[in-house]
């Protein structure tokens, strides 16, 4: 590992760290395209409802609003976590990260419940092209959140075991980028799937 640069935050302090953060931004670029293609599919198939329900009949705003505010808050909290990490308040950082993950779990719980309601109402992934594209888009986002919960928990365990150093701080920061990105994707789902769907 190259020498540490003390003038920048810990997560950027080695050349390897800088490159890892840059590489993660490039990965996020690829993620933007993944979700762009899923949105394209959804927009192309949104009216192909066959004998199944249309969005207006299917979507319920209250749980979607809960999901939106929960995810916005968790994105804010992980931002505070990174800030706490930079001013050397490791304990506060860990608390913020735990709260972030708890809210992530709440989001996932509401979303799973939403899926179960759809299925209970007889709208499954096989019902229509609309349902297939909707569940693929929502499911891909939900799978990302699920993976994020596991990833974030792993990073927290590592920080607990090894303390905050150039390596663990780098991982924690990269995870925060991932989490903010998932929030951005959700905002687009909230606006162009749910709100547009009930117009």
């Amino acid at each position: 590992m190259s020498k540490e640069n003390k003038s920048v935050p810990l997560e950027y302090s080695t050349e390897e760290n800088e490159l890892k953060i840059f590489g993660f931004w490039v990965f996020l670029g690829a993620e933007i395209l993944l979700f762009a293609t899923l949105f394209s599919v959804y927009f192309a198939l949104v009216d192909r409802t066959g004998s199944g329900p249309i969005g207006k009949e299917l979507f319920e705003l209250p749980p979607v609003l809960v999901e939106t505010f929960v995810l916005l808050t968790s994105s804010f909290l992980i931002g505070l976590g990174v800030h706490a990490m930079r001013i050397g308040r490791t304990k506060a950082m860990i608390v913020f990260y735990i709260l972030t993950l708890v809210l992530g779990a709440v989001f996932l719980g509401v979303e799973i419940n939403e899926f179960l309601t759809y299925i209970h109402d007889g709208a499954t992934i096989q019902t229509s092209a609309f349902m297939s594209s909707l569940m693929t888009l929502l499911g891909t986002h939900g799978a990302h959140v699920t993976f994020g919960l596991l990833w974030g928990s792993g990073i927290l365990l590592q920080i607990k075991k090894r303390g905050l150093n150039a390596k663990t701080a780098n991982k924690a920061f990269i995870f925060s980028l991932y989490w903010h990105f998932l929030d951005v994707v959700w905002i687009f789902i909230f606006s162009f799937v749910y709100l547009k769907g009930v117009l």
Binding site: V8, Y12, E18, I21, F22, W25, V26, L28, G29, A30, I32, L33, F35, A36, T37, F39, S40, V41, F43, A44, L61, L65, T68, F69, L72, T73, S75, F76, G79, L80, H83, A84, I87, R89, A92, S176, L177, H180, F181, D183, V184, I187, F188, F190, S191, F192, L195, K196, V198, L199
Partner: protein
């Protein structure tokens, strides 16, 4: 305690809440035309994305920010071409 809540982040959070409420106006007011509603949704969603990118993800904080901007702008551009290209070929052409 206060140093744990930097102004920039708190403002960003309030901003994202306000933008969410602004987006909600499209379903609260009946009789809004679809064009106006979609414009509001596009503007608020884009603003939300910028709040996250700039205030929370600090995209412009390092020396390699130029490369980061190019990477993200290029991805967004290809993403938009994918979305609107699909709409053009598969939806609008049949209306």
């Amino acid at each position: 305690m206060k140093e744990l809540f930097p102004k920039e982040h708190v403002m960003g959070f309030i901003g994202s809440l306000v933008l969410t409420l602004a987006a909600l106006t499209v379903v609260m007011f009946k009789g809004m035309s679809n064009g106006v509603a979609l414009t509001i949704l596009i503007v608020t969603a884009a603003a939300q994305a910028l709040v996250q990118l700039v205030l929370f993800m600090h995209i412009g904080e390092t020396e390699d920010k130029k490369s980061l901007y190019i990477t993200i702008i290029y991805s967004v551009l290809v993403g938009l071409i994918t979305v609107f290209g699909t709409l053009l070929a598969m939806v609008w052409g049949y209306m």
